[in-house]
Every structure is written in C-alpha cells, then in structure tokens.
C-alpha cells in the first residue's frame, strides 16, 4: 500500500504540473458540450425546393402553399420548365424538384387520379431521404384533404380514415440536446480516459522511465493500479463537470433516474475503458503509435455505438461490433437513466456486460504487460 501511495502521489504531481492535461480535462468537456449539440442537429429544416408548375390551377396553387407553409421547405425557384430547375440542381442550389404536370387539376377531377413528379438531389443523403419523406407526407395530407372535401360536398356518407397521432415519450418535444448531450458526455469520458491512460504509459516507455521502475521491487499490479486510479478519477471528474456544469446548468437536463446508478455504471465503465487504454499501451512503443491505435479504436467505438445512428438499423455484422463495443452500453445507460429514469433493475444486462468487459480487457492487458520486456 505504501508503494502505491507514492506511485499515486508521483502520478498526480505529474498530471497537475502538466498544464496541457489540465486544460484538456477542464476546457474540453465544456467546449465540446456547448458546441456540438447545438451544431449537430438532426432535424432537417430549410430544404430548398424548386417548383415547376405547368398547370397553374387553384389546386396546384393550394399544394404549393401547403408545402411552403409546412416550414420545412424553402422555395428556391419557381419555374415553367423542368430544365431550368434542373439547372438549379446542377449548381447545387436546390435539394428537391417537384414538377406539377399540365392538366393536374383536370385529371384530378375527371379521372380522380393525378401524377406528380419529384426529383431528389441525393448528394446529401440525409437531406434527400428526409426531404422526400416530408414532401410525400405533405402530398398525402393534401390528397386526403381534397378527397374529404369532395366526399362531404357530394354526399354526406362518412368515410373511414385512419388518423395516426404520435406522442414522443421521455423526450416529448424531441429536444435534440437532451438526446445528444448525454451521448456526447460519454464520448468525452471515453476519449479522455482511453487516450490519456494509453499515452501516459507509453510516454514512460518512450522516455525509458518504465525501465527504472522495472528494476525496482515495485510489483506489476502496483504499477498498473498507480496508472489506472488517477485516470479513473479524472474520468469521474470530467463526467461530473459535464453532467452538472454543462448539461444541467446550460441545457437544463436533470437526470430523472438515480445518480448512484449512473455513477456506479460510470465507475465500472471507466475500469473497462482504462483496460483498453492499457492494452493499447502494451502494443505500442511510441506515443505516435499509441495515438494512431487509440484513434482507430475510438473511431470504431464512436461510430458503432448507436450515438449517431441507431444500432437496430445497422446490418447484422455491424450489430455484432456494436454489441462488443463498451461505448454502446454506456450511451444506452446514460440515455435511459437521464431521460427515462430507469433504475438498476432495468439495467441489469448492461451492468453485467460492462462488468464482464472490465474483467476481460484488464486481464488481457495485464497478461500482455510483461515486466521483462
């Protein structure tokens, strides 16, 4: 215990002496949490639309107004020919073209059927899919409206229509920050923990101080604990700073569930994560190698974690990566606890898996960390 105390004392001394690390643990969470949730907004607005109206009838006018009034679309141009609108497409000025054919109203009234043409600029995939989905819904609603109009005016027989109204539970206003902030908090803890832990140990290798430690009677587990504990504490600090300092003060996100559950999970998660940092450090000899390796792992972990894209919509093989990814579980737990207020009982699986991961990664790291290099 005495040895461990001195190792920890030395480690904290070095950390607090390094102004870069201090800046990283204090400024990084605040800045990232302030900037990212506001900028990276999923809700697609201001889809630029080009309208080509060959019909120029009251009904086509009505449809046009309905589209603009929805608030999602911005009329880029109003043309008489498709070619002119296509020109706007080419210049990347518009995302969607809707062409209303000649005799739109006539065929609607006479044939009880009319066609519309929609072209989507798919360079920005999200804009394209979301935009055309919005547009289809608006057209669908327009369609229903006129049918109801005619039915009620011609005869008063009630027609059955299915009305779907949805309610967003746990995040009623689909408030983007309350969904994103907990996720970004997880990323921060993950990056700070894994990077700093891996780089710190590799630095000792690079400078050669690890050899000096190795020729002392310091035990393997003392050395490893001496490295893990400081970064474990820093991880908890960063999370607390983000949760109370930014999420609560700035975004007004108050965790609905118990803080104890959240922090116990965080504690286990950090052990697993630092184990990964340790593994990275055992496989690299220079800080550059460690940095590249950590960067690679982080990219995979973050993109395959369900933070940006839901795990359920991934292909089968990708789901397996997400299942083996510790970040997935933490993001899940943070969202469930903060937004839904889930308790320990509902999170047993996640607790079990992350505990197993903590054991697995650390065993791997310790086995791979050879005292005689």
């Amino acid at each position: 215990m005495r040895t461990l105390r001195f190792l920890l004392q030395k480690e904290f001394r070095q950390i607090f002496r390094n102004s870069n690390i201090l800046r990283m643990i204090i400024a990084m969470p605040i800045i990232q949490l302030l900037v990212m949730p506001l900028a990276a907004d999923y809700e697609i607005k201001n889809i630029r639309i080009s309208l080509v109206d060959h019909d120029r009838s009251p009904n086509s006018q009505k449809l046009k107004n309905k589209i603009i009034a929805s608030g999602y679309f911005e009329l880029n141009d109003f043309n008489v020919s498709f070619d002119e609108s296509y020109e706007q497409f080419q210049r990347n000025n518009s995302d969607l073209i809707m062409e209303i054919p000649k005799d739109f109203e006539k065929s609607l009234v006479v044939d009880k059927q009319a066609n519309l043409f929609i072209a989507v600029n798919a360079i920005n995939g999200t804009n394209a899919t979301v935009g055309s989905a919005y547009l289809n819904r608006i057209i669908g609603s327009f369609n229903r409206d006129i049918r109801l109009d005619w039915i009620t005016s011609n005869n008063s027989v009630n027609t059955a229509t299915i009305e779907v109204s949805s309610l967003n539970w746990f995040n009623p206003f689909l408030n983007y920050p309350s969904f994103m902030v907990p996720g970004i908090l997880v990323i921060l803890v993950t990056m700070v923990g894994a990077y700093m832990c891996a780089l710190n140990i590799v630095k000792e290798k690079e400078v050669g101080t690890i050899e000096q430690i190795n020729v002392t009677p310091v035990k393997k587990h003392h050395f490893i604990l001496g490295k893990l504990i400081p970064f474990w504490a820093i991880g908890i600090f960063v999370f607390t700073l983000g949760l109370f300092g930014v999420a609560w003060l700035v975004y007004g996100i108050v965790p609905l569930g118990s803080l104890l559950t959240l922090y116990v999970f965080l504690a286990i998660y950090l052990i697993a994560l630092l184990g990964i940092g340790l593994i990275i450090s055992t496989y690299s000899n220079t800080q550059q190698q460690a940095m590249s390796l950590a960067f690679f792992c982080m990219m995979v972990f973050l993109l395959m974690s369900g933070l940006f894209t839901p795990v359920d919509s991934m292909p089968e093989w990708a789901k397996w990566i997400a299942i083996a990814n510790p970040v997935t579980y933490f993001i899940d737990v943070v969202r469930l606890v903060v937004l839904k207020g889930s308790g320990f009982a509902a999170l047993k699986t996640q607790f079990l898996i992350i505990s197993l991961m903590a054991v697995f990664f650390n065993t791997w790291a310790v086995l791979n960390y050879k005292k005689t290099m």
Binding site: R2, K10, Q14, V207, G208, T209, V215, T216, M373
Partner: protein
C-alpha cells in the same frame, strides 16, 4: 564473485541479429569492472540481462549468487541500474526524483545520505529544478544519485559518460573511485578507450564477443610488438604511403600521430629504411619515436 556470466547468448529479431554470443566473465566484490567496446558491441545487452530486463537466449547470469532469470526479484532489490539514456522523470524536480526512487526501495534520502553526499552536494543547489532542465553532466549526477540512494551492492552504469563534456567525465570517474572505497561493486561500460585505464579490470568487447579480459596494465603489457609514432607534414598521404611500405606490419591513424608496428628484424635498420622510403616519396619533417601502447592500440590489434 558478485557478478557471474556464463556463455550468454542473446539474439534479436528471432535470431537474425546476434547481439551477444557466448560471453562469459565475472566481477569480484568491490571491483570496478569496465566493458570497453565501440557502439553496437553488445554492452547494453549485457547490462540489460544483468538488470533482469532481458532474458538471455542461452547461458546463465547471476548477481550476488541470484540467478537473473529465476531470482530476478532478489536482484532488483540489490542493483542500481543507470541506463545509457537519461531516464528519470523530466517533469519532477531533482529532489522529487530522488525521493521517489528512495521510497520505492523503502528507504529515504536521510537514511542513505552518506552514500550520495559527495555527489548530491554538487546538484543540491538545483534541487527544486526539474530534472529535464538540468545540463547533461548534472543529469548524469542525478541519475547516479538515484541509482545509489537504494544502497545497492552492485552498480550497473551503462555508458555514463557518453555525451558528457571532458571535465564532467573526469569528475564522474572521480566519483566512481570514491564509491569503490565504499565497497560497492561497479560494472561500467564506455566506448572511450582512455577511460579503460581507470578500471580495475576491463573486458574488451567487439561484435558481441569478448576479445580479452584483464587489468588494463596487463592488457597493455600483452601488446606483442614495439610501437612507434610517426608524423610528417602531410598526414593523410603519409597514412596511405605507410600502408604501402614493405617495412610496416600495422599502421593506424591516432590523431596527431600514426601508430605503426614494424616487421621483425633490426629495428634501427628498419626505421632508417622507412625514413628513407618516406623521404623518397616526398615527405618532409618526418618524426618517428617509440611509444608505449594504449588500450586503443591493444583493441585494434585484438580486432585484426
């Protein structure tokens, strides 16, 4: 015997690079033993095996009777290892470094102050300075202090004077002499041949093989031939001309002079013949004198 190496073999890259082949030597208690050899001779590999940081492929090494492979824990309690590269915490101060290494050995600066006093007093004025900001010579002194503070029975000093200025080098060897008086066994390596004479015994090492082990005086005495120093106005041309000459058995450049040995025969006649030959080739102000060989001469002789 404090250190015993028997038939040590160590290769790197799965046997492709041979670092040390069949090295055996032993160091007596309280001895100042020098491993002398150029870069890449295998000195550091031997040190790392003794410091229990490397496992030998073959052979055995022991310190104080403890095997370097099986009893590495015992060895680590007894040695002070100073690697060739400065490897203390650069962001900790002089005092913090010393304190840290003392505590890892369950001791304190006060407890073993006697051991380091002579050296530490020289760096004590800078004890609050970070180790990374010290000059080269001072870094070495601090590293030596950190190796000594644990009160080791064996000091392993891997090239402690490489990259250190002449004055500091001299001071450093003075310190080693002082430590010898405290009955600490010291194994030191150096690429500088002139430092070899300061050791009790030396091992000349080249390409992972030991060429000779003896006291520096005996190694010099074993030099078989009479050695001469030759000088003229055009030294580089002289070297080429001397090597062409039939009278010369060996010729090497040694700074101001070329060191030569002559073939067997009447030395006076041979010298005269050589001078004539060189004058004939256009050399002026030829100077030739007989000298005592240095370790470097012996090393070159053994290498050839």
């Amino acid at each position: 015997m404090d250190v015993v190496l028997k038939n040590i073999v160590k290769t790197y890259n799965k046997g492709k690079v041979k670092a040390v082949s069949d090295v055996s030597f032993s160091v007596e208690k309280g001895e100042l033993f020098g491993l002398i050899g150029p870069d890449g001779a295998g000195k550091t590999t031997i040190f790392r095996i003794l410091a229990t940081l490397l496992l030998p492929d073959e052979g055995t090494a022991s310190v104080n009777g403890h095997d370097a492979v099986n009893d590495y824990k015992e060895i680590r309690k007894r040695i002070g290892y100073m690697p060739g590269k400065f490897s203390l915490y650069q962001d900790l101060s002089v005092e913090e470094n010393l304190n840290f290494f003392a505590t890892l050995f369950n001791t304190s600066i006060e407890e073993n102050y006697e051991l380091i006093r002579d050296i530490y007093t020289q760096i004590e004025p800078f004890k609050t300075r970070r180790a990374g900001k010290l000059s080269g010579g001072m870094k070495q002194k601090l590293a030596l202090c950190c190796a000594l503070i644990r009160s080791p029975s064996l000091l392993l000093l891997d090239e402690p004077t490489t990259g250190v200025d002449t004055v500091s080098r001299k001071e450093f060897w003075e310190m080693l002499k002082g430590l010898k008086e405290q009955h600490i066994t010291i194994l030191v390596s150096t690429p500088y041949m002139d430092e070899a004479t300061l050791c009790d015994r030396i091992a000349l090492i080249q390409d992972g093989e030991i060429l000779s082990i003896n006291s520096p005086r005996k190694i010099i005495n074993q030099f078989p031939d009479q050695l001469y120093a030759v000088k003229s106005q055009k030294m580089s041309r002289l070297l080429a001309d001397l090597r062409q000459s039939s009278t010369i058995s060996s010729c090497n450049s040694f700074g101001e002079y070329h060191h030569i040995t002559l073939h067997q025969g009447n030395t006076f006649e041979m010298q005269k013949k050589l001078i004539n030959e060189m004058e004939h080739l256009g050399h002026t102000q030829i100077e030739i004198k007989s000298i005592a060989p240095t370790i470097e001469d012996c090393f070159i002789k053994l290498m050839s």
